[in-house]
Amino acid sequence: MADGRSSRHVRRKVTDRGRIELRLRDPEFTLDVGFMLRSGITILFGPSGAGKSTLLDCIAGLRLLDEGRIEVSGVVFFEHASAINRSVQWRRVGYVFQELALFPHLSVEQNITYGIASLPKNVRRERVDRIVEAMRISHLRRRRPAEISGGEARRVALARSLVTDPRILLLDEPLAGLDIPRGPRSSTIFGRGTSCIEFLSFM
């Protein structure tokens, strides 16, 4: 299996960043999707219940698929035909849930370091310093999720994902509760009910 980390720079100029084709049969509905990912941001629109979150769960490996193939940045996550189904942990995606799912018993800093515990301490500290600075959450490091605002919590969740240097970043309803100026652009471009798959250029 190719190492996504080392080949990243080579692939940067290629516009095709992955293909997703999948079929999922649930007692209540069938999800049947096929599209190509291009570098930059891919946004999925659809009314609630259309399966946006389910699709992101499938890409992250949180749901079992019936058929299809998921390839991201040259790495195959899932392929029905050859019985490839990589574990959630192996896929190394960043996924910010709609409900954020910050660990309530851990501080902001402990939340952010959760996914990089295996890295050497100095690397860890350097990455955390960088991300909390970028996300303007340095002053919240010792607080717990219950003690920060909704927008701050969203930035913490984003930092927690980005700091792991993921292959792909999945954002479910990214504009819900964000501390952004309420201008016409942000609301008209995305609107509610948006899921967003973004290719990352953070680290």
Partner: protein
């Protein structure tokens, strides 16, 4: 007050609560997260001691631990004496008898942990074991405490099982509840009352502590719950 019986009871209950904590975690984890279709069968087996008369349980344990059963014979081969009518036998009987009082609060607490937190942990690369230690266990602390407290109190107060498999040997299997029964049998109501009252007060204090702590946990907020580390 029979101090020897009291000391024996405390030793038994502490040991059983400790062992049930260790044994109960994996069982409860399995019950909380397994998707096996016959899981309810295992749940029913674990819950059996809640509804079964202690004498029935004690009777079968006596048979199972006795010299005629395979388990009993293995034990005799290893130690040279039977399991029945020993402190070890009492420990085994109490573990089975109090199992649901540990496993059910554990399992309820595990199942109550938001599944999205488990998903977040996995997405961040944590194995199931790491997720258990870092997320499930700390968030289940009140349930763990309840399970340990209940199994301790339940073991301290058991009577039927102890009488069936332990008999009434002072210093070995004679617990406080047996001591009370003995005194009533010999019409020594005054000293029976003394011990019974002590057991009543003790059980009440354990429950008050448990419920009080749980309440503090729920209303005290996250900071209070984890000491603002």
């Amino acid at each position: 007050m029979d101090w020897q019986a009291l000391w024996l009871t405390i030793r038994l209950a502490t040991l059983v609560a400790g062992l049930l904590f260790v044994l109960g975690l994996p069982i409860a984890y399995w019950i909380a997260f397994s998707r096996w279709r016959w899981k309810f069968f295992v749940e029913a087996v674990v819950g059996l001691p809640i509804v079964l008369p202690p004498t029935v349980l004690g009777f079968y344990l006596l048979v199972a631990l006795g010299p005629r059963s395979p388990l009993g014979r293995v034990w005799i081969a290893l130690t040279g004496h039977t399991l029945a009518f020993t402190f070890s036998g009492l420990v085994i009987g109490s573990i089975i008898y109090s199992l649901p009082f540990a496993v059910q609060p554990f399992a309820t607490a595990f199942a109550a942990v938001d599944s999205r937190l488990l998903a977040a942990s996995a997405v961040l690369g944590a194995s199931r074991l790491r997720t258990f230690w870092r997320v499930v266990l700390p968030l289940s602390l009140p349930g763990l405490l309840t399970g340990v407290g209940l199994s301790f109190a339940h073991t301290a107060g058991e009577f039927g099982v102890v009488l069936m498999i332990g008999g009434n040997i002072p210093g070995v299997t004679r617990t406080v509840s047996i001591d009370i029964y003995d005194r009533v049998q010999s019409f020594d109501y005054a000293s029976a009352n003394e011990t019974a009252l002590a057991l009543l007060v003790f059980s009440f204090i354990v429950l008050v502590l448990l419920y009080g702590l749980n309440r503090g946990w729920r209303t005290g907020g996250v900071r209070g719950m984890y000491g603002g580390r």
